[in-house]
């Protein structure tokens, strides 16, 4: 498959990158690893005029272990995160998620954490070749007015299948976005629009520069279900975080379900079932998992393979497995 033509820009530092983004805006796309962007371009889903490569920006590849948080640069390869001792210790859910991203050939060189978070939403009606899509009317995400995943839908229902984002949201991570004249921080949980066409609440001249994971006394875990253990995107995944006091009473709980909606779903209702309960009470885990299933089912549509019924049932299973692992 051929890539459409573009002009390759190779900025040497962050300021140059932000200048280029501000100048070209929607006509430019950032290339970190390219494992999502280049595939989309090959399928004709987008054809940016400029590609801005982060190749020279080694300053965006780091993992800093600070007293109250772990900071990860946007261009850090997935393999570096898997190998990082602080991540393994304080953010186990992220470690487990990164292990499942792609395969060795994608993790250790091309795949980056920033790219994983910003991988575009997917739908099996949309992520198809030009030829396939040319035989039917365009869907919302393709610039049209219909949705093949849910009849009568007035907007795009594509699904966020990022492993990294699901784990990071469970961990309560925050993002730093830099533009030419501004820099802002946003919680990952508030970073999503509810529109599958442009799922991320960021401007075209902004660049994701850093991911910050707060350290807690809690434990986290991540579980995912996919057809194959490598390469495939998850069809259901779950990230959980539990914090308990000295007497094993749960004082804080976060449950996030991924690959079921336009963004990873932070399920407060399911998590509330755990608060104040005993860490070793398996029956409460089951309650929470069942609540997660009924909440998540409202968002999902049949668009990433397997049947909707099966994926909904597996939400309960993934949440339960993740909770039990803590």
């Amino acid at each position: 498959m051929r890539l459409p033509g573009f002009e390759y820009l190779n900025p040497q530092n962050l300021d140059q990158t932000l200048d280029m983004l501000a100048e070209h805006k929607d006509e430019a796309k950032i290339l970190a690893g390219g494992t999502d962007l280049l595939v989309r371009m090959k399928k004709g889903l987008l054809a940016p005029k400029y590609i801005i490569s982060l190749k020279a920006l080694d300053s965006l590849s780091y993992i800093k272990d600070e007293s109250d948080c772990i900071k990860i640069g946007t261009r850090t390869p997935i393999a570096d995160i898997i190998a990082s001792k602080p991540v393994q210790k304080h953010a186990r859910a992220l470690f487990q998620a990164c292990e499942k991203i792609g395969a060795v050939s994608i993790q250790h060189y091309k795949g980056t954490i920033g790219g994983n978070i910003l991988q575009n939403n997917r739908c099996h009606h949309y992520n198809q070749s030009d030829f396939y899509r040319s035989g039917r009317q365009a869907c919302h995400k393709d610039g049209g007015k219909i949705c093949y995943a849910r009849e009568e839908a007035d907007r795009c229902n594509s699904t966020c299948q990022s492993d990294g984002a699901t784990a990071l949201m469970a961990l309560g991570a925050g993002l730093t976005l830099a533009g030419k004249d501004n820099k802002r921080e946003v919680e990952l949980a508030n970073f999503y629009t509810t529109d599958g066409i442009m799922p991320f609440a960021m401007e075209s001249q902004e660049l994701l520069t850093e991911i910050s994971i707060p350290k807690t006394n809690g434990e986290s875990a991540y579980k995912r279900l996919a057809y194959r253990s490598a390469i495939d995107y998850p069809i259901v995944c779950a990230g959980v975080l539990l914090e308990s006091d000295n007497s094993d009473k749960i004082v804080r709980a976060r449950i996030v379900v991924g690959a079921m909606g336009r963004a990873p779903l932070l399920l407060a209702n399911a998590a509330s079932k755990l608060k104040g309960k005993d860490m070793n009470d398996q029956a409460t885990f089951k309650d929470a998992a069942t609540a997660a299933m009924s909440s998540a089912a409202a968002f999902a549509v049949h668009n990433v393979g397997s049947t909707l019924e099966y994926r909904c049932a597996m939400v309960e299973e993934m949440v339960l497995q993740a909770l039990k692992e803590i």
């Binding site: 033509g5 390219g34 494992t35 090959k42 399928k43 792609g102 395969a103 050939s105 060189y109 390469i231």
Partner: protein, 164 residues
């Protein structure tokens, strides 16, 4: 836009004028005629196009040619010696039935080589992990894993080929 890049390909220093939007697999196959590297899916899912860049196995279909400037690239063509003697990994795939139709073999062998260069004592689990990004639709993988294991023994005796 055209850009001039220089890199080391299978031990030879090469300068080449490329277009910005060429992928490494396009450069190797369509421009340089090195069709040993296969392109299967073109989306990073099948691993048939795996080559080694700076000692790491990568999918050449998702690697922009412009990004190999100043890097060291190894492809399947660089494995056998100039007199035709096969690299231990290639010989082992032949001897142990690791090849049926052969389309995945260049990718399998390059992924295996990257693994064994880094970790010559890789066990079965590590081999499975390293080959997780390579899909074979014929042999069912068992013979492939056995081939890589057998190659570990051969590699001690023979270090033939330009890429050693």
């Amino acid at each position: 836009m055209a850009t001039k890049i220089s890199f080391i390909l299978n031990g030879d220093k090469i300068s080449y004028e490329i277009k910005d939007h060429w992928t490494l697999s396009y450069l190797l196959r369509e421009e340089m005629g090195l069709i040993g590297t296969k392109e299967g899916c073109g989306n990073g899912e099948c691993g048939a196009c795996t080559v080694i860049v700076d000692k790491l196995a990568v999918n050449s279909c998702l690697y922009l040619a412009i990004d190999i400037d100043d890097k060291i690239v190894e492809t399947i063509e660089g494995l056998a010696s100039t007199d035709g003697t096969l690299h231990p990994l290639q010989q082992s795939f032949v001897d142990n039935g690791g090849i049926q139709c052969g389309f995945c073999s260049p990718g399998m062998i390059m992924s295996s080589k990257a693994l064994l260069d880094e970790n010559p004592d890789a066990d079965r689990e590590e081999i499975k992990h390293a080959l997780a990004g390579n899909i074979c639709r014929c042999t069912g993988y068992i013979q492939i894993f056995e081939s890589v294991e057998a190659a570990k023994e051969l590699a001690v005796e023979d270090k033939g080929g330009k890429n050693g």
